[in-house]
């Protein structure tokens, strides 16, 4: 660049000739130069600003563009290798204690229609009715040709049906994937499993939710993806459950009973090996609850858990055990059971007006004397009796892990009078479920610890609260064994398994008060083997009547006991119990003469 000199000689000489001030030229030139410098600096600054502006624009455009892309794109999680395959199953399986499937999922399809895409609605409706006879053709035609844009036709269809619908070739008939809950064993353990249904439904998926039983109780756990493919392990044994249900339904029809229930419980772990209630239902096709009449007549009603009944003389052992625990009586204490006996103005009688006279405590249980038990209960008194029965769990619903269990709340007398004490000692005036009874008998069977019945598999015994001492429990077991070997439950003898138990026959209460003469609840509460109990079995028959004799027989000894004996014969080998020879009582404590 050529710099213009500040004082060009030619112009200065010329100016001097003209007598002008040559400094003016210099100042003029300085001014021009400054102007040039200023313009250049401004251009440069403007250029820089432009570049900066472009940079900022690009940066913001990038950020904005990225935000737009993020907002419009489908979200995708970080890639995890080999995990996605587990999440397919929406709901965990339920298996029995040996891992056999009780409930699983099954992939199937739902069928829906989009009428505006249909080409021949009438013929499609006709073809659909041929495949699904329960559909109404006129209604389908109305729906297909009307204004509706969408309608469900079938919630769940089988693969064969899907193929046949596919063969119609109607583009307006569409399938959505559905996961369905399947109970492969049908009616087996129906009351425990309950059933499942669809919750929120969309075209592409539907929620499977538990509607009853353990499915509802553990709904969260079963749906929780964190548990993934780990199945819910129950304490039930499929084989034992099947055998018990089979024998029980046979017994129910032989004894002409209206319903039946059975509970088999491990006395150490509290596991319910089998729990059955008849009549039952198919959880794959769960019936609707009854809208009228007695809910107890519905097959959905779980007699073993929800049914609270006065369980009769099976309660006597609790009064006797408590009295022995308190030291009021021992096995050989003689009690006068002769009548008449009046408590609170009400007469207390024996079965068929019998009079047993003087009996030992043990014989009171063996002969099932109401007056004998009542007199012992009066020695215990209402307060101590309440405390003891509460510790055995007879005041609260059982903590079983099915949603219905909370409905099985025992019915207690409003005022616990002396009369209540006497009647409750022989099982009247307090209604409880067969499961309550099983838990109570388990305490006697395991040596005096109260354990909670559970449906979940566990490997360790429960350390329950001690309610009676080992010696009292052993004495109670000896009495229960005598009931079977020489008492009211003689039909319950199963060679090799030393069954001990107590019968109970309670008249059914009328809905309007009072009791029926010809309707009973027959219960047999048993434990086996009596010398070293492993299991407690409760069998309850609702309104049984045994008609092989001259007169109809309704007592538990003739109805529930033979059924229970058959169950033990069938089930004990399945449980791996080897028949054993019962140890003889020691000669030293045998009563040789009076």
């Amino acid at each position: 660049m050529i710099r213009t000199p500040l004082r060009p000689l030619a112009r200065i000489l010329l100016a001097r000739d003209k007598g002008e001030n040559p400094d003016a030229i210099e100042r003029e030139n300085i001014r021009l130069r400054h102007e040039q410098m200023r313009d250049r600096a401004r251009r440069r600054a403007e250029g820089r600003l432009l570049v900066l502006g472009v940079m900022f624009f690009c940066a913001f455009a990038l950020v904005g563009g990225r935000m737009g892309v993020l907002a419009h794109s489908e979200p995708s999680g970080p890639r995890v290798s080999a995990a996605g395959a587990d999440i397919l199953a929406q709901r965990a399986d339920i298996v029995d204690r040996h891992g056999r499937i009780l409930a699983t999922n099954f992939d199937t399809h739902s069928l829906y229609a989009q009428p505006q895409q249909m080409i021949e609605p009438e013929s499609a409706a006709q073809a659909l009715v041929e495949i699904f006879p329960d559909l109404d053709e006129a209604r389908l035609v109305k729906d297909f040709t009307g204004k509706r844009k969408f309608l469900w036709i079938k919630k769940v269809i089988s693969p064969e049906q899907q193929q046949r619908v596919h063969d119609i070739g109607e583009p307006g008939l569409l399938f959505g994937p559905r996961e369905m809950r399947l109970y492969p064993n049908g009616n087996l353990a129906a009351h425990v499993l309950g059933g499942a249904g669809f919750g929120r439904e969309g075209v592409h998926a539907a929620e499977v939710i538990g509607v009853a039983g353990i499915e509802k109780y553990f709904d969260e756990r079963l749906r929780d993806p964190a548990h993934g493919a780990r199945p819910l392990e129950l304490s039930l044994d499929l084989t034992v459950q099947a055998a018990i249900e089979h024998v029980l339904s046979g017994g129910m029809s032989i004894m002409n009973a209206k319903g039946a229930a059975a509970v088999l419980m491990d006395v150490r772990t509290g596991e319910i090996i089998s729990i059955a209630s008849l009549p039952d239902f198919d959880p794959n096709d769960r019936p609707r609850p009854l809208t009228k009449g007695d809910a107890g007549d519905s097959p959905l009603f779980n007699r073993a858990v929800q049914g609270v009944y006065e369980l009769g003389s099976t309660f006597k052992i609790f009064a006797i055990a408590q009295a022995m625990e308190l030291g009021l009586v021992n096995e050989d204490t003689v009690i006068d059971t002769s009548g008449p006996m009046r408590v609170g103005g009400f007469p207390i009688g024996e079965f068929r007006g019998k009079n047993y006279g003087e009996l030992t405590t043990s014989d009171i249980i063996v002969k099932s004397s109401n007056r004998g038990t009542g007199r012992i209960a009066l020695k215990i008194g209402p307060e101590r009796q309440q405390t003891f029965l509460r510790s055995l769990g007879f005041f609260e619903p059982t903590p079983l892990e099915i949603i219905e269990a909370s409905g099985g709340k025992p019915l207690l007398p409003q005022r616990w009078t002396e009369l209540s004490t006497v009647t409750i000692s022989y099982g009247h005036g307090l209604s409880s479920s067969p499961l309550h009874l099983a838990a109570g008998y388990a305490a006697i069977a395991n040596g005096g610890r109260m354990i909670q019945p559970t449906l979940l598999r566990r490997d360790t015994p429960q350390a329950g609260i001690r309610v009676i001492s080992e010696t009292t429990a052993a004495a109670a077991r000896r009495m229960l064994r005598r009931v079977v070997s020489s008492g009211t439950a003689s039909l319950g003898e199963v060679p090799g398994y030393a069954v001990g138990g107590k019968t109970g026959t309670a008249d059914k209460p009328k809905p309007r008060g009072g009791y029926y003469d010809d309707k009973v609840i027959a219960t047999f509460a048993s434990l086996f083997p009596a010398h070293e109990p492993r299991y407690v079995l409760i069998v309850t028959l609702d309104e049984p009547v045994e008609t092989s004799g001259d007169k109809p027989r309704r007592t538990a000894g003739w109805t529930a006991v033979p059924v229970a004996a058959e169950i033990i014969t069938r089930v004990a080998p399945l449980l791996g119990l080897r028949p054993t020879i019962e140890p003889e009582p020691l000669t030293g404590i045998t009563l040789t003469s009076n």
Binding site: F106, N185, R570, P573, L574
Partner: protein
């Protein structure tokens, strides 16, 4: 000198770009392979679930009981009874076989010595 530096750095950029793209393609390939495998696993799992359900359905106790009753004449299956428990000394083992007798023995120690002197 300076131009050599430019050429070298340009070549380095090209080489690194090639390597980066190559790795990228390999990763994508591995990912799509993993996706395909995962699909196959999930299909296999689904099939396994169906087969498990079918197995449980075919082995349901009521069906097995009916089959045992239908085939009673051939199989003679009865419910397990307590008397069927046995003791281990009640099991009739087959008689112990005679010890093997060798009468055509061959001396092999010499052969060994020949092979491995």
């Amino acid at each position: 000198m300076r131009s050599l530096f430019y050429v070298l750095s340009a070549l380095a950029v090209i080489a690194l770009a090639y390597w980066a793209y190559h790795e990228n393609y390999r990763t994508q390939h591995a990912q799509s392979e993993a996706d395909a495998l995962e699909d196959r696993i999930s299909v296999a799992r689904q099939r396994l679930r169906v087969l498990n359900a079918e197995w449980a359905y075919l082995n349901r106790p009521s069906r097995l009981r009916e089959l045992a009753e239908i085939n009673y004449e051939r199989l003679g299956l009865m419910p397990l009874q307590p008397y069927q428990f046995g003791r281990i000394d009640q099991v009739a083992y087959p008689p112990a076989e005679e010890p093997l007798v060798f009468d055509n023995s061959i001396e092999v120690s010499d052969q060994d010595q020949e092979q491995y002197p």
